[in-house]
Amino acid sequence: MMLDDLLNALFPSHDTQVEAEGILCGTAQYGQDKTAAVVGLVNRTPLGVDGALSLAGHVLEVIRHSPGRPIAVLIDAQSQRMRRRDEMLGLNEYLAHLTKCFVLAGQRGHRTVGVLFGRAAAGAFIATGLVQDMLAAVPGGDPVVMDLPSMARVTKLPQDRLEALSKDTPVFEPGLDHATPIGAVAEIWNDGDLAEKLAMALDGQPGAPDRRDEIGAERKGRLKAAAIAKRVAQEATAHA
C-alpha cells in the first residue's frame, strides 16, 4: 500500500509531511474527533543517525507539548543504515535513544501503535516497530531479519533446504506469516475498516505490559519463551 492510500484509509483527515531521511510527522483525526500524533519512517528508507535523531525529536515534542496524545507510527523502511560513518558516530546510541523515547512515551500515557505497511528489517524494525505498545500490519507489511539467500550463506545450508525447513517452523523465515504466530505482530488488518481498527488500537492502554511471549505461546509459534521467563522469576523468588 502507498503511504497516501494508507493515511487516507487510516484517518478521516490528516496533516502530515515527509521530511529528510524518510521521516514522517504530523497529526491526524481519528475516532470521534480525537487527535493522534503521526510519525514514521517511510519510503523504504534505511535508518541512520540523522533519521533516528530526527524521529526521536518528534516523539519528544509530542511528550512535551501534547500530554496523553496517542502516537501512530507508520513503517516502510529498510534495515539500519549500513555505513561506516553511522557506526563511527555511534549508531547504536542513536537507535537506543529512539527506542527509549518511544518507551518513555508509553510510560507517560501516550499509547504507541506501529502500523507496518512495507519493509522493516533488523535494527530499524526493533527501533520503530517492535518497540511499540502494539504493532499491527496491513497487506504489504514485510518484516525481515535476514533474507533467505544471506541466511543460506551464514548458516552454510542450501537455500532449498532452508525453504523446506521453514514450512515446519516460523522461527527464521522472513515475512508476516511468520512474525505473527510468534507474537511480534499483534494483529494483521487484512480487510474491513482500517480507521476503525486503528482507532480501537489507539485507545488501548499506554505502556501496556509486554505480553508478546505469552501471545506467542497462545498462538503456538513460540513455545518456550514465556515459560522460561516465568521460571526465572520463580526460581529467583525461591532463592530470595
Partner: protein, 312 residues
C-alpha cells in the same frame, strides 16, 4: 578511578569464559544460578540445523554479591553460537529483568556481561523479538528504580554478526563499562562490506575496524561511561565506582541525551575518521589514541566533556 589501573594479575576478561567471568566477578561462593545447565533447557530450534545445543543456551543468569552488594547478573558465552540471542537465551534474560522490575526486595542492580554477535540467525525471528523484549524489560526495570550496568569486552563484542542489533541493548542500560576489546556497533564490519562494498568499509583493515567500533572510540565519544583494563578485577572495580551516580530513565534524561547526540552530529558529523574527531575534541595527539596504554588513555577520556555525562 585511577586506582582501578594498578597492575592486575588476574583473569583477562577477553580470554575468560562466561562462567569464569561470573565466578571471579562475584564474591566467592555467592552465586546462585537460575535455570542452570543441569535443567537442560536447550534451544528447541538448533537440532533442525544439525547444530549442537548448550545446556544453558549460551547464557548464565542468577544472583550473587559483589563486594557485599546484592546483584542480579547475566553473562553471555561468546564461544557458543557467538553469544547470540535465541529463544531460550533471550527469555532467560527477560525473566531476570522482569524479576528485578516486579520485586522490590530483589537486588536493585542488574549486571549484564554482554558478549554477543547479535541475533542467532537460525532463530532469526524469535531472536530479534527476544532482543526487543530484553530492551523493553531493561527500560521497565530502570523505570522501577533498578540500575542496569552493561559490561562489554568479550570476544564476540556487542554487535550484530548478521547485521542485527545488540548495541541497542547496551545503549538502553543505565551505565556501560567497556575495555579496549569491547567493540560495539549495530551492523558488523563484515555485514557492511558484504552489503555496501569494500570501499565503504574494509573489514580486513583491522586498525580501521578497531578505531571505528572499538572500546576506546566508544568511550571517548560518550558511548560508554567508563573504561576498564582487560581484567575481571578492573571491570568489577570500575563498575562499583559508577554506582554512586546513576541516571534515571525519564523525560529529563532523554532530553539531555537528545541534546548530547544532536551536538555530536553537529560537531563531528562531517568527520571521515575517528582521529579527525579526536582532533576536533582538542586531543593533543589524535593519531596516537590506539597506541596509548590503558592508564594514559583513561586520563584523556576522563578529561573529555563528551565522554562524561548522565545523559543515557
Amino acid at each position: 578511578m585511577n586506582n582501578a589501573f594498578t597492575k592486575y594479575r588476574t583473569w583477562s576478561w577477553y580470554e575468560a569464559t562466561a562462567r569464569e567471568r561470573v565466578a571471579n566477578l562475584l564474591d566467592r561462593g555467592s552465586f546462585t544460578e537460575f535455570i542452570g545447565p543441569e535443567k537442560r533447557e536447550i534451544s528447541p530450534h538448533l537440532a533442525l540445523f544439525d547444530l549442537p545445543e548448550a545446556f544453558d543456551d549460551g547464557i548464565i543468569v542468577g544472583r550473587g554479591t559483589v563486594r557485599g552488594r546484592d546483584v542480579l547478573l547475566a553473562a553471555q558465552e561468546g564461544r557458543f553460537m557467538g553469544g547470540t540471542f535465541g529463544e531460550v537465551h533471550g527469555a532467560k534474560l527477560v525473566g531476570l529483568l522482569r524479576y528485578a522490575r516486579d520485586y522490590q526486595d530483589a537486588p536493585r542492580v542488574v549486571v549484564l556481561l554482554l558478549d554477543t554477535g547479535g541475533v542467532r540467525l537460525q532463530e532469526a525471528n524469535v531472536g530479534e523479538l527476544a532482543v526487543s523484549e530484553v530492551i523493553r524489560a531493561v527500560l521497565e526495570a530502570r523505570m522501577a528504580g533498578v540500575t542496569v550496568i552493561a559490561m562489554v569486552g568479550g570476544r564476540a563484542g556487542c554487535f550484530g554478526g548478521g547485521g542485527i542489533v545488540v548495541g541497542i541493548v547496551a545503549g538502553c542500560c543505565s551505565r556501560i563499562v567497556i575495555s579496549e576489546q569491547g567493540r560495539t556497533s549495530v551492523s558488523g564490519p563484515e555485514v557492511i562490506e558484504t552489503n555496501m562494498g569494500v570501499e565503504e568499509f574494509d573489514s580486513r583493515d583491522r586498525p580501521l575496524v578497531w578505531r571505528t567500533t572499538g572500546g576506546k572510540t566508544r568511550r571517548l565519544l560518550g558511548g560508554a561511561d567508563a573504561y576498564a583494563e582487560d581484567s575481571i578485577d578492573s571491570f568489577r572495580d570500575v563498575a562499583i565506582s559508577l554506582l554512586d551516580r546513576i541516571p534515571a530513565f525519564d523525560l529529563d534524561t532523554m532530553e539531555k541525551e537528545h541534546a548530547r547526540l544532536t551536538q555530536r552530529l553537529e560537531k563531528f558529523g562531517q568527520c571521515h575518521d575517528t582521529p579527525e574527531i579526536w582532533k576536533a575534541m582538542g586531543i593533543a595527539e589524535p593519531d596516537r589514541i590506539a597506541d596509548l596504554s590503558d592508564e594514559d588513555f583513561n586520563q584523556i577520556a576522563q578529561a573529555q566533556k563528551e565522554a562524561n555525562h548522565d545523559a543515557r
